[in-house]
C-alpha cells in the first residue's frame, strides 16, 4: 500500500485565543482506499478536509500529500492539483455559466491549451454521465447533477484523491445515491482514492476504513464493522446509527445473538430469517 496523505500531529485553530478545532490529529490515507471521516457538527472534520489541500495551514504539525508539504508555498499548487474537494452546497461551487464552462474552470486555471481541455472535459463528463448536459445552465440542473458536474470538474484535473466534504448532505435521497454511485464507479474503474467526510453513518458503513472524530480529536479508527461494534460511543457523540444496526442492537439486548454485526439491510434480512434455524 502506498501512502498518499500523511497528517502528522496537526493542531489547528482559526484564531489565536480561540480553542483548537483540531488537536494533535494524525492519520494516513492509502492509495485506492475509500476512507470515511465521521463526526458530529463541529468535530473538526471539515476543517481537516481544508487542511488536506492547503486551503488552511496547520498551526502545529505537518500535512504531506505525496511528499509535498502544504507549508511550502511552492508545493501548494501541486497539492491542490492532486487533492480535489467536492463541497457541501451544490450551487456555491458552480463557477461557470454552463456545465462545460464549469468543468473547464480548473483546467483553465492550470493553463491547459484549449484542444487538450476539450478532450479532458469530454472524458470527465462522460465518466459522471453528464455528457448530454454540456451546454446546460446550472439553474436547470438538479442538486445531484450539479454535484456530479463538480466531480467532473475535479477529475478532469486527474487528481489522486477526491474529498467529498459533506457533498451529499444537501441532496435528496435520489441525488445522494447518484453521487455516491458515481464516486464508487470512479474508485473501482480508475482506482481513485476517496475521502468522504460525513455525518451519515450509512454512507460511512460502505467505506473501506473509517475514522471517527469528536471535538477535534480522532477517537477511533478501523474497518466499519469493528467501529460499529462500539455503537454506544457513536451514539454518545451524536451520530445516528444506521437502521439495520439499531435493529441488531435492540435484538441483542433481548438476548438474541449476532456473532458479527451486518451493516446492510439485505444482509440483516438474511441474518434474521436464518437466526432461528441456527439456534
Amino acid at each position: 500500500m502506498e501512502e498518499l496523505i500523511s497528517v502528522q500531529n496537526v493542531s489547528f485553530r482559526y484564531q489565536e485565543e480561540h480553542p483548537y478545532v483540531l488537536k494533535d490529529v494524525g492519520l494516513s490515507v492509502q492509495k485506492g482506499e475509500w476512507l470515511a471521516i465521521v463526526g458530529h457538527n463541529g468535530s473538526g472534520k471539515s476543517t481537516l478536509a481544508r487542511l488536506l489541500n492547503g486551503l488552511l495551514l496547520p498551526e502545529k504539525g505537518d500535512v504531506l500529500v505525496e511528499g509535498f508539504n502544504s507549508r511550502d508555498e511552492e508545493s501548494i499548487w501541486e497539492i491542490r492539483r492532486r487533492v480535489g474537494i467536492v463541497f457541501q452546497n451544490p450551487d456555491n461551487q458552480f463557477v461557470g455559466t454552463s456545465v462545460q464552462d464549469d468543468v473547464a474552470f480548473g483546467l483553465e486555471n492550470s493553463g491547459m491549451p484549449r484542444e487538450k481541455m476539450l478532450k479532458r472535459i469530454a472524458e470527465s463528463v462522460k465518466k459522471v454521465r453528464m455528457e448530454d448536459f454540456l451546454d446546460q445552465e446550472p439553474h436547470r440542473l438538479s442538486g445531484g447533477q450539479k454535484q456530479r458536474v463538480a466531480i467532473a470538474g475535479i477529475i478532469a484535473l486527474r487528481p489522486s484523491i477526491v474529498i467529498l466534504d459533506e457533498a451529499t448532505s444537501m441532496l435528496d435521497p435520489a441525488g445522494r445515491k447518484e453521487v455516491l454511485q458515481t464516486m464508487r464507479e470512479l474508485k473501482e474503474e480508475e482506482g481513485m482514492t476517496v475521502i468522504s467526510i460525513t455525518h451519515d453513518l450509512e454512507e460511512a458503513a460502505r467505506a473501506d476504513r473509517m475514522i471517527v472524530m469528536n471535538a477535534g480529536e480522532v477517537i477511533d479508527e478501523g474497518v466499519p464493522v469493528d467501529v460499529f461494534e462500539k455503537g454506544d460511543m457513536l451514539e454518545k457523540i451524536g451520530l445516528d446509527l444506521p437502521f439495520p444496526l439499531q435493529v441488531q442492537r435492540a435484538l441483542r439486548e433481548k438476548g438474541y445473538d449476532f456473532s458479527k454485526l451486518t451493516l446492510s439491510q439485505e444482509e440483516l434480512v438474511n441474518e434474521l430469517w436464518t437466526l432461528q434455524s441456527k439456534s
Binding site: R80, Q93, T97, L107, M117, P138
Partner: protein, 264 residues
C-alpha cells in the same frame, strides 16, 4: 423559474447571431459615433437603411425590437416636440398664435428622433443576438491590451460572468424567502407604497446574508480548484474572427465613408 432568460438574448441562427461578439461590439460602438455624422435627409436615409437591413437580417420578431424601444419612446416624442416648437429656423409653417412651428424645427425634430431611434435599435440588436457571457468574453478580449496599463480586465470579466451565473440562483432564493415571509404574514403586493417598501427589508436582509455566504463558499471552491488570478490562465471560450466579421467591418467602413461624402 425554469425558463428565465438572463438579459434580452433571443436564440437564433441568423447571420448576426453568428458574428463574433467582438465584431458586434465594435460595430455598435462605431455606429454610435458615426450616427453623429449624419446631418441631412440623404445621410439619415443611409443610416436608416443600414439599421433596417440589420434588423431584417437578424430575423428577430419585430416585437422584441419594439419592446426595446418602448421605454425610450416617450423620450423620443418629447425630444421631437421640443425641437418642433423651440427651433426657429427656415420658413414658418404653422402659427397657432402662441406657438410657431418652423420648417427647421420639424427637420431638427425628425433628425434627432431618428438618431435616437437608430442608436437604440442597433444597441438592442447587439444584446438581442449575443448572450451576456459572449458579450463579457468579447469585452475581455477587446480590452485585453489595457491589462498592460494595469486595468483589471480579467477580474472584471470574471466578476461579470459570476454575476450572470448567480442571477437565477438569487432570483430563486428571493422567491423562496418571499414565500417564507408571506407564510409569516408579510404582504408584498398590497397595501400602501410605504408599507410595501417596508416589507422589502425583511426580504433583502436574508438575501444579502446568504449572498455573502455564497460568495465566501465560492471563493473557497475556486481556490480549491487552483484559481490564482488571470495570469497564465487559458480559456475554453474561443472567439473566432471570420470572413463574416470582416465583411461587417467593411460594410461599416463604407457606411462611414458614405456619410462623410454625403453630409452637408
Amino acid at each position: 423559474m425554469q425558463n428565465i432568460i438572463i438579459g434580452q438574448y433571443v436564440p437564433g441562427q441568423s447571420f448576426i447571431h453568428k458574428l463574433d461578439p467582438r465584431a458586434k461590439l465594435l460595430t455598435a460602438f462605431l455606429f454610435v459615433i458615426i450616427v453623429f455624422l449624419a446631418n441631412n435627409w440623404l445621410t439619415y436615409a443611409l443610416l436608416g437603411a443600414f439599421t433596417l437591413i440589420a434588423v431584417f437580417v437578424s430575423r428577430l420578431p419585430l416585437r422584441y425590437i419594439y419592446n426595446g424601444l418602448k421605454p425610450i419612446l416617450l423620450v423620443i416624442i418629447l425630444t421631437f416636440l421640443l425641437h418642433v416648437f423651440l427651433t426657429k429656423e427656415g420658413p414658418l409653417l404653422f402659427d397657432f398664435g402662441f406657438l410657431e412651428v418652423y420648417e427647421g424645427g420639424v427637420k431638427q425634430g425628425v433628425f434627432i428622433s431618428l438618431r435616437l431611434l437608430f442608436l437604440i435599435m442597433i444597441t438592442s440588436l447587439l444584446t438581442l443576438t449575443t448572450t451576456p457571457i459572449d458579450i463579457t468574453v468579447g469585452i475581455e478580449s477587446l480590452l485585453g491590451p489595457m491589462k498592460k496599463i494595469g486595468l483589471p480586465v480579467h477580474e472584471f470579466a470574471l466578476m461579470m460572468s459570476i454575476a450572470l451565473r448567480f442571477i437565477p440562483t438569487l432570483l430563486e432564493e428571493t422567491e423562496k424567502i418571499m414565500k417564507a415571509q408571506s407564510a409569516r404574514g408579510a404582504q408584498f403586493s398590497s397595501g400602501p407604497i410605504k408599507e410595501r417598501l417596508k416589507s422589502i427589508v425583511p426580504l433583502l436582509v436574508p438575501l444579502f446574508v446568504s449572498a455573502f455566504k455564497r460568495a465566501e463558499d465560492l471563493a473557497m471552491a475556486m481556490e480549491a480548484r487552483g484559481y490564482r488570478g488571470g495570469e497564465g490562465r487559458t480559456s475554453i471560450r474561443l472567439l473566432k474572427w471570420s470572413g463574416k466579421d470582416t465583411t461587417l467591418f467593411i460594410i461599416l467602413l463604407m457606411l462611414s465613408v458614405g456619410l462623410l461624402l454625403l453630409r452637408s
